[in-house]
């Protein structure tokens, strides 16, 4: 078992980082305040161990602890599953292989708050470098980020076209959809055929039993 001093140090650092980040997003901080008194417990299965983590919403921020005590909502799952649930839109609990119990409305609130998170990271840089230098650095970072995002998007599109149109190594999305529809139709047709076959066999068995009645006095 980990010495509680170490786990307390880890949760204290995580808590400080989260609350520092919330400092740069006052709107999210206010929305978290509205959840004061509620808590979310997460049991993370990682490398064969279960790591408990509890997130308490308080009036002046978020508290993190490694001890779970009567939480409002509980989540249990693997680290990749929990990350998938946290970061991907439209992923449900069963897809992420995550169990949840307690008040699930809190989960929806947290997911919505996390989705709307908008940290003013320029303000964080300004705190370190001052307004002028901080703004210049933030502008540079924004330009680089935009350039990388554009290159990333166009690169993805070009690669996709090269693989589907030039190399014909993989089907296009339309072809894949057509194929998928055909498979669906085939499956439906086979299901219908199977149902018809079962019906005919049942009728045939019934006919056979009515034309060969058991002779009187003959006990099986």
């Amino acid at each position: 078992m980990v010495d509680p001093t170490l786990s307390a140090a880890a949760t204290a650092s995580l808590e400080a980082a989260i609350n520092k980040a919330l400092h740069y997003d006052p709107a999210t901080r206010l929305r978290c305040q509205a959840l004061a008194g509620k808590s979310l417990a997460i049991e993370i299965a990682f490398a064969g161990k279960k790591i408990p983590l509890c997130c308490h919403f308080e009036d002046d921020g978020i508290g993190i602890s490694a001890n779970v005590d009567d939480p409002t909502t509980c989540l249990r799952g693997s680290l990749p599953g929990l990350l998938m649930l946290a970061t991907s839109d439209g992923v449900n609990l069963s897809e992420a292989n995550v169990e949840a119990w307690g008040n699930t409305a809190l989960l929806a609130d947290i997911k919505q708050i996390a989705g709307d998170l908008d940290l003013d990271w320029e303000e964080a840089i300004n705190d370190w470098l001052g307004d002028v230098a901080g703004h210049q650095l933030a502008e540079q970072a924004r330009r680089q980020f935009r350039w990388l995002r554009d290159r990333g998007q166009s690169g993805k599109r070009l690669l996709s076209e090269f693989l589907t149109e030039e190399l014909r190594a993989i089907p296009t999305a339309t072809e894949l959809k057509g194929f998928s529809d055909q498979v669906d139709n085939l499956r439906l047709a086979s299901d219908r055929l199977l149902a018809r076959f079962e019906r005919l066999r049942a009728a045939s068995n019934k006919d056979a039993s009515s034309s060969n009645p058991t002779p009187p006095g003959h006990n099986a």
Binding site: P4, T5, S7, A36, G37, E58, D59, N67, D69
Partner: protein, 249 residues
């Protein structure tokens, strides 16, 4: 002829009625620089020990919490945030100087409304039966003259199902750590006390009182004998400090 009852004050044996006064003198002497010395002596780790205590307290909104020997109010500050405006935190200490420092500090930090300050002896707590959801005593029990009496008094004022958390120095779990810890506490600690507060004796008493305090298993047995249920302890930093937890049945 009846023999005079004695108890330990550090490594000395003193008459029972003298111990409280002597302990009071120690804390009158260190009160002003108590927090600074705590940070220096523990390298700031005492904050992690207290943090773990709060984690295990299970205190929630609306709870009533008694912080005995609360001193400069580290635990009370956090509890006042946890219980919210509908809860109550009582910061209690037998020592007026410590209480004054704690009260001023909490007022400066804007804690008001759900916190009251009470000068109280842990052996004779001046509260009705079944009052508190949680009682904590951090680094205070070893200074109490009659620990069994104090534990029974705490049991009385706890609500059924309420928790007692005793955070106290204890017995290191490895020989190597014990040797290093002895050297540190008997040589370096009084020197630091002399340097910062010009009071080596008080910090020599601190080291001695830690050695005289019951070890983990003994304190657990004392809690069971006082009437607490589900008693358990968690060693921290190799057993230098232990957190004992018990529930009122």
């Amino acid at each position: 002829m009846s023999e005079k009852k004695t108890t330990h004050f550090g490594f000395q044996e003193v008459p029972v009625e003298e111990k409280a006064g002597r302990v009071a003198d120690v804390f009158h002497s260190v009160a002003a620089k108590y927090d600074l010395m705590n940070d220096l002596m523990s390298g700031g780790i005492h904050r992690l020990w207290k943090r773990f205590t709060i984690e295990l307290s299970g205190v929630r909104r609306g709870h009533k919490v008694l912080d005995i020997a609360g001193g400069t109010g580290d635990l009370s500050y956090k509890f006042s945030k946890l219980v919210g405006p509908e809860g109550l935190v009582v910061l209690a200490d037998i020592n007026e100087s410590m209480l004054r420092v704690g009260r001023d500090r909490l007022t400066d930090r804007g804690v008001a409304g759900n916190l009251v300050v009470s000068q109280a002896d842990a052996q004779f707590l001046p509260f009705p039966d079944n009052t508190f959801d949680c009682i904590t005593i951090a680094f205070g029990l070893r200074n109490v003259t009659d620990k069994d009496l104090a534990l029974r008094s705490m049991l009385r004022v706890l609500k059924p199902g309420g928790r007692l958390l005793v955070l106290e120095f204890s017995k290191p779990q490895s020989e190597l750590l014990t040797k290093a810890y002895d050297t540190y506490s008997f040589k370096l600690l009084p020197f630091m006390g002399k340097l910062v507060t010009n009071d080596a004796d008080s910090y020599a008493y601190l080291a001695e009182s830690i050695r005289m305090h019951p070890d983990q298993e003994t304190l657990k047995t004392m809690m069971v004998d006082a009437g607490f249920a589900n008693c358990e302890f968690h060693n921290m930093t190799g057993g230098i400090v232990a957190l004992h937890k018990g529930t009122k049945p």
